[in-house]
Amino acid sequence: MGALGRLIRTTAFKLSLVYLVVFSGLTLFLTAYIANNTAQLLDSQVTETIDSEINSLSDQYERGGLRQLVSAVDLRSRRPGASLYLVADSSGRTVVGNVADPPLSILGLSDGDTTSVTYQRLDGDAGRRYDAVVRVFALPGGFKLLVGRDISEIGQLRLLIFGASRYAIIVMVLTGFISWFFIGRSVLKRVENMAETSRRLMSGDLTHRLAIKGSHDEFDNLALSLNEMLDRIEALMTGLQEVSDNIAHDLKTPLNRLRGRLEETLRRGGEVEDYREAITSAMEEADNLIRIFDALLKIARMEAGSSGDSFESLDAADILDEIVELYEPVVEDAGGRLTLETKRPLPLKGNRTLLSQALSNLIDNAIKYGQPEGGKGLSIALTGAFDGEDICLMVTDNGPGIPEADRKKALSRFGRLDEARSRQGSGLGLSLVAAVARLHGGRVVLGDAEPGLKASLHLPKA
C-alpha cells in the first residue's frame, strides 16, 4: 500500500464516502419526487384543457350542427401551438383536423375515453411521431370528435430534470473525491507530524513540542493538551532528577557519618559498654535516615499527584481543633502559648492525615525555630479563615522569622536553612507542607508576622 492506500484508509475518506452515498441517495429521491409531482400536475392540466375544449366544441355542435363544429375545429387546428383535433366519420376517414394518421384503434374507442397515443403531425416531419393524450367524443351519425394535447414536452421536462440530477451527482462525487484528497492529505500530514514529534520525544528529547498551527481546530486543541501533558512529564522527570540528586546529597551525608562512627568504634575497640553506646547512636542515626527517606517518598508521591490518598469532605476547623489539642501541652511545656481562632465550618475536600501532618510540621517548626529572642515567651497562633475562594490556615509565631530572601529556599525540597541543618530533623518539614498544599490544589505562603514567621496554607474551599 502506497500513499494512496494510506489516503484511502483515512477517516476523511470513509466520511467522504458515507456523505457521498447519503447525498446521492437524497438527490435521487428529491429529483424523482419533483419530476413525479410536476408530471402529475401537468397531466391533470392537460386533461382539464382537453375537457374544456370538448365542452366548448360540443357547444358549437349543439348550436350549429356538424357544419359549425367542422368549421370551428378547422379554425382552431390552424392556430399556432394548437391542440390536436380530429373529426372522423363512421368509417374512420378524416373530415377535418391536424392529425395525420389517426390510429384506428383510437377511433374505435367509445365516448369519454382518455388514452395516450403517438401521432404524426400534418405539418411535422414525416415519420416522426409525437406523444399525446387524447379524448374521444362520439357525435350522432357515427362521427367522432377527437381532442388531444401533445405531451412530449412533459416527457422532455422529465428527462431534463433527471439529466440535471445526473450531472449534480457526478459533480458531487467529483467534489467529494477532490475534497477528500486534500483534507485527507492535510490530516495525514498533521498526524504524521505528531507521530514524528512523539518519536523524537521517545528517543529522549523531552524538550520537543508539537507544532501549533494557530487555526484553533481540533488538531490544535489536541496538540495543546498533549503539550501540556509533556510539560507535566518534563516537570516530573526534572523532579525525579532533583530527588535523586538530593538523595545522593542528604542521605549520603548521614550514611557516611554513620559508617565513620561504626568504623571508628571498631578500630578503637573497648568495653561492651562502649560498643553498646556506639550501636545505640548508630541506631538513632538510622532512624533519622528512615525519617528522611519516608518524608522524601511521601513528597515525591504527592508531587507526582498520585498519592492515591482518598480525599473526603472535611471541616478544617475540626482538624485545627485536633491538632491544637495534640500540641497544646507541648507548647506549654516549652514555656509558650498556643492559641486557636477559627471560623467554622471551613469546608474543604482533602486528606485529614496529610493536612494534620502539614499543620503539625508548621507547629513543630514554630516550636523549634520560633523562639523569640530576649527571654520573651513563645506564642504560636493558629487561625482558620476564608480568603476569597480559599480557606487559609495560618500558623504564626513570634520568633525571628525567615528573611524574605530565604523563604523560597525554605519551601524547596531539602531546603534546610543553614541554622536548621545543625538541628535534628529531616529538613523536609516545609517542603512536605508545600507538597501537601499542592496536592490539595493550594499553596503555602510564608510571610512576616513582625516579628515572627507567618506560614499560611491556602486551600480551595469545597
Binding site: 553498646r276 541506631m283 525519617r291 519516608d294 517518598l297 485536633e322 495534640l326 511545656d333 492525615t353 529531616s426
Partner: protein
C-alpha cells in the same frame, strides 16, 4: 503465644523468629506465600505476621482467604509501602494492624501482643483495674484509692487504651494511632508530654507509680515496674 511469620527475607525472618522466641513466644516461619497460606490454613496460631509482598502469592490474598473461611486470627501486615492508602488497603483486606518496614522490634512486639489481646474479654469489660486505679468506661470516671481523678476526654482515652493493654508495652506510635487516629510521625515527641501530664494526675501523690516508661520502647501501665524494658530498648530489627 504461637506466632506465624510469613516473610521472604530469610535473614529478617530468622532474626524475627529468634527474637520472638527469646520473648517467650513460639514462632514459626513460612518463606513464601503458598507455604504461608498452607500453614495459616492449618491454624492454631494466636497471631500472624504477614509481609505484603511475597513470592508465589500476595500477602493480602492470604488474609482475604482466611477471612472468607471465617478465620479471625489477628494479622499484623508488614510492608515497605507506607503511604496512607497502602495502609487502608492492608486493613481493608482484613489485616488488623499495619507496620511499615523498617520497624523497631519493640514496636512489632508491642503491636503483636496488643493484637493477641484484642479478642480477649478485656474489650467487653466495663471497668479496667490496675492496682487501686479504676477506670469506668460507662460513667467515664477514673478513681484511684477511691478518690475520683478528673480527666480531660483525651486523657481519659489515653488512659483507657493504656489500661486495656495493662502489663504490656504500648509504643508512642500505637498511642498516636489509637488515641489520636494520626498516622504520621510528629517530629516533636508530643506523646511524651501527654503521658507525663496523665502521669501527673494518676500517679502524683501516690507512693506506688503505675504508669511506667519503658526505655526505648514506650509506656506500660501495671502494678509492678517494667521488667524487660532494659533489653527491649536496644533489641531492634533491621527489617
Amino acid at each position: 503465644m504461637r506466632i506465624l511469620v510469613i516473610e521472604d527475607d530469610s535473614e529478617a525472618a530468622a532474626y524475627l523468629v529468634k527474637a520472638l522466641d527469646e520473648m517467650g513466644h513460639v514462632a514459626e516461619h513460612a518463606a513464601d506465600g503458598e507455604a504461608g497460606a498452607f500453614m495459616a490454613e492449618e491454624g492454631g496460631f494466636d497471631v500472624l505476621i504477614v509481609d505484603r509482598m511475597l513470592p508465589k502469592r500476595d500477602g493480602l490474598s492470604i488474609i482475604e482467604d482466611m477471612r472468607r473461611r471465617g478465620d479471625h486470627t489477628p494479622v499484623l501486615v508488614l510492608s515497605a509501602l507506607g503511604q496512607v492508602d497502602d495502609r487502608v488497603r492492608g486493613l481493608r483486606a482484613g489485616g488488623d494492624d499495619y507496620l511499615t518496614k523498617p520497624y523497631a522490634f519493640t514496636e512489632l512486639l508491642a503491636r503483636v501482643e496488643a493484637l493477641a489481646r484484642r479478642n480477649r474479654p478485656a474489650d467487653v469489660e466495663t471497668t479496667y483495674r490496675v492496682g487501686d486505679l479504676v477506670l469506668d468506661r460507662l460513667s467515664h470516671t477514673v478513681t484511684r484509692a477511691d478518690t475520683e481523678i478528673p480527666l480531660q476526654p483525651r486523657e481519659f482515652r489515653l488512659l483507657e487504651y493504656l489500661m486495656r493493654n495493662a502489663g504490656q508495652v504500648v509504643t508512642r506510635t500505637m498511642l498516636l494511632e489509637n488515641v489520636w487516629d494520626y498516622h504520621f510521625d510528629p517530629q516533636t515527641n508530643v506523646i511524651d508530654v501527654h503521658v507525663s501530664r496523665l502521669r501527673g494526675k494518676i500517679d502524683k501523690g501516690f507512693d506506688k507509680p503505675l504508669l511506667h516508661t519503658v526505655r526505648g520502647a514506650g509506656y506500660m501501665i501495671r502494678e509492678a515496674g517494667p521488667d524487660r524494658g532494659g533489653e527491649a530498648a536496644w533489641v531492634r530489627s533491621g527489617g
